[in-house]
């Protein structure tokens, strides 16, 4: 069975909610929809205070090349456009809508019918995906239409679909594959057409045998799509590691997957593309896992974008006594929240609640040079050394030691027997080196 070669770790999986079918979260009383839910330039609002909006109506336009449209996830009245705290912990602009009776925009096909045929041209597919505000749903939220536009001089050979879900606890992608398999397949075919490729591979980790079997069976009916079971190892869902695992190609440092003829999308994104192109439905809801060892009913919810995190936790049985930490995303790369009113966004894959006991860090002691961080780094960096350089403020040396290749998977900190917060230091280094690089290119 395939996997990537360098480094990696095996955190306990704890996939409590993998058997829970997706439930629909009731539309909350009000939603706040951030304008910066994606990587790149925030969208510009096209509605103002007091406007009535329908579900699925465009409310903010992504005007830059790397940006994405944003649609209303509810029917209601815009009460204000104001700064709210989002999952990053910073105040960012958001459109706040008070909800009324749910009424979908007329152009959207809300039926459950599976539409397999797609007669749009390549350009029209990409245009549609752009229009519907589809972004990468694995976490980074990179605008999808940009990935599907292959730059001049490059050629896409493979379309790779990420069904790995290597983060512990999370099961949203798993449930999506089991419940929306047909739609997923059509979504993949549409994107293969947009890219002009004839080979698509869905990578699924071996801890989801039901998904491997079901998707594998479906794939037989679709030309060019195959399923590859992968050996369990974190961070296999990282783009470069997935490419290495599936087709054994190494994306050069600082380059994009298209350099080796690949485009990678998450299964969630592929499904969103199906809905956008075939059903004319913008990205206004997504599946989110709500879980944790102290959560009463770990579950998978279909959630309108902009719903407050607190509403999701409520459905899962409410916050346990003495909660320690609430994380947006998985335990390895997720962000700890300081406020439960923050809205979920297009990139939120899970809400994870930790008890007080689980929330602390291991006490930090001196480095014993065991080399575990070096051996587990999937990018073959030397985390201990980078952290040391950052502490000494030697950022030029950090750059030379390829600190920008770090994708912040957290394996180094996870594995460190001395409990050293290596990734904290490396993040500081990355932001300083990033500033240095920008200043250099400005000159």
């Amino acid at each position: 069975m395939k996997t990537f070669k360098l480094g990696g770790v095996h955190p306990p999986e704890n996939k409590f909610s993998e058997k829970q079918p997706v439930e629909i979260l009731p539309v909350p009383e009000s939603v706040s929809i951030p304008l910066a839910q994606h990587l790149g330039v925030p969208a510009n609002p096209v509605v103002k205070k007091g406007d009535k909006v329908k579900t699925g109506q465009l409310i903010a336009k992504g005007e830059a090349f790397i940006s994405a449209n944003i649609h209303s996830s509810v029917t209601g009245t815009v009460t204000k456009i104001d700064d709210v705290i989002d999952t990053s912990g910073y105040r960012k602009k958001a459109i706040i809508i008070k909800t009324e009776e749910d009424e979908w925009d007329g152009s959207i096909d809300t039926s459950d019918n599976l539409i397999k045929e797609c007669n749009l041209s390549r350009e029209d597919i990409v245009k549609k995906i752009n229009e519907m505000g589809i972004v990468g749903m694995g976490g980074a939220a990179f605008p999808s239409h940009v990935k599907l536009m292959v730059p001049k001089g490059k050629k896409a050979e493979y379309f790779l679909i990420n069904g790995v879900e290597c983060e512990p606890y999370l099961t949203a992608d798993h449930r999506l594959m089991l419940e929306k398999g047909e739609e997923l397949m059509v979504g993949i075919t549409i994107q293969m057409k947009a890219l002009g490729v004839d080979k698509a591979i869905i990578g699924i980790e071996n801890n989801k045998p039901d998904a491997i079997e079901y998707i594998g069976k479906l794939a037989q009916e679709y030309k060019g799509i195959s399923v590859e079971p992968l050996k369990i190892k974190y961070p296999q869902g990282a783009e470069k590691q997935l490419i290495k695992a599936l087709i054994n190609r190494e994306v050069p440092s600082g380059k994009l997957p298209i350099e080796v003829g690949c485009v990678v999308h998450n299964v969630g994104t592929a499904f969103a593309v199906y809905e956008a192109v075939q059903k004319n439905k913008p990205l206004i809801e997504r599946i989110i896992t709500v879980t944790g060892s102290n959560i009463e009913k770990p579950c998978n919810l279909m959630v309108r974008i902009g719903s407050p995190v607190a509403a999701l936790i409520e459905v899962a049985g409410g916050l346990p006594d003495n909660p320690g930490k609430v994380i947006s995303g998985g335990p390895m790369m997720g962000k700890a929240l300081n406020d439960l009113d923050v809205p979920v966004t297009k990139g939120t894959s899970g809400i994870l609640v930790f008890s007080k006991k689980q929330s602390g860090r291991v006490p930090e002691i001196t480095c014993i040079r065991c080399g575990k961080c070096v051996n587990t780094c999937p990018m073959a960096l030397e985390p201990f050394f980078l952290a040391l350089l950052v502490d000494k403020q030697r950022f030029e040396d950090c750059e030379e030691n390829m600190i920008m290749d770090c994708m912040e998977c957290g394996s180094c900190h996870f594995v460190c027997p001395s409990g050293r917060p290596l990734l904290d230091s490396i993040r500081v280094g990355k932001s300083n080196v990033g500033k240095m690089i920008r200043e250099r290119s400005d000159k």
Partner: protein
């Protein structure tokens, strides 16, 4: 509402700690320890206990009263230094020398540099080499093994197998005439020979090494490259002239090679961090060991070889970086 903790990812931690690693090493030392108790009896037990207790006490005293910092004797690293120090001395060594050696190991070898993780040289070896140079007679008086001996005095002493061969060759005798004077290879392998406490039994040390490999406390790189390079180097010498150079298998199972390659050279703190660096380090240790054993003044060269290579670790770490993901790409 109660306050939530906010911290950077990752939010989970592997079930790993320095203490676990250290106690893992101690568990792996048990077979070799039992063999030494079996062959050297009560003397071995007393020397080991003295070394462990004095290492821990010296670390405690220095941390508490000299550095006035946190006391970390519970992490187990001082215990390991004590055990390894005892493993490197003869079982009838006067106890005051053991105490002095422990003081040098912990005080000079470890605490002067700032304690665990900061010392460039293996503390146990610093202690051992100090005793070797300061008390050469006591340190080279090797009791002959007597299974389950409970007597502390009146043991028969004799040179180690390595010394027998080295001295004999120095006097112009042939290796083939000297080999009958040392124990059979099978005895050497099991540990039925004179020598330092813990170095005698190759099989017990290999067993401990395998345990550490399985627990992922060490990697194969240093032991294999160290032992491999000794085997190849001595093999070439033996092939050139078997009359004055003893065969490679003899080199592997005598002296402190197994102890050095499996426990002393693999000390995390004083060895390189990258697999490539570890291979270079191991080969360096191997070559130096053979050079000292065959051409140097001492019959045994493991301690010096490892200490010399310890000094090269910073340079090795700098010179042999891991090959980064996506650095040189060969696709297709």
């Amino acid at each position: 509402m109660s306050l939530l903790t906010v911290s950077g990812s990752p939010h989970v931690h592997a079930d790993e700690s320095v203490r676990k690693i250290m106690y893992g090493v101690l568990i792996s030392l048990v077979p070799a320890m039992l063999v030494s108790f079996y062959f050297f009896g009560l003397g071995a037990i007393i020397v080991t206990l003295t070394a462990v207790v004095s290492c821990v006490v010296f670390e405690f005293l220095i941390q508490k009263y000299l550095i006035k910092g946190p006391v970390t004797i519970c992490d187990g690293s001082a215990i390991i230094t004590g055990v390894l120090l005892a493993f490197n001395v003869p079982s009838n060594l006067p106890l005051w020398i053991v105490v002095v050696g422990s003081f040098v190991a912990i005080g000079m070898g470890k605490m002067t540099f700032g304690g665990l993780g900061k010392n460039p040289f293996n503390p146990a070896l610093v202690g051992r080499v100090f005793m070797m140079i300061s008390f050469p007679v006591q340190m080279t008086t090797w009791p002959k093994p007597i299974p389950l001996n409970t007597q502390l005095t009146d043991v028969v002493t004799g040179p180690t197998a390595l010394a027998v061969v080295k001295d004999g060759v120095g006097r112009g005798e042939k290796v083939s005439e000297l080999l009958p004077k040392v124990p059979e290879y099978m005895d050497l392998f099991i540990g039925n020979m004179g020598g330092s406490l813990g170095e005698i039994s190759a099989i017990a040390l290999i067993l401990g090494g395998l345990y550490m490999l399985v627990r992922k406390i060490i990697t194969w790189h240093i032991p294999v490259s160290y032992i491999g390079s000794v085997f190849i180097f001595t093999g070439i010498l033996w092939w050139v002239n078997p009359d004055i150079y003893v065969d490679p298998v003899f080199h592997l199972i005598t002296g402190g090679l197994m102890l050095g390659a499996i426990y002393m050279a693999t000390d995390m703190v004083t060895s390189p961090m990258t697999p490539k660096g570890m291979l270079i380090f191991g080969i360096g240790c191997g070559v130096l060991t053979v050079v000292i054993r065959v051409f140097g003044a001492y019959p045994e060269g493991v301690s010096f070889a490892i200490l010399i290579m310890n000094a090269f670790v910073p340079i090795i770490d700098r010179a042999f970086k891991p090959k980064r993901f996506g650095e040189e790409v060969k696709n297709g």
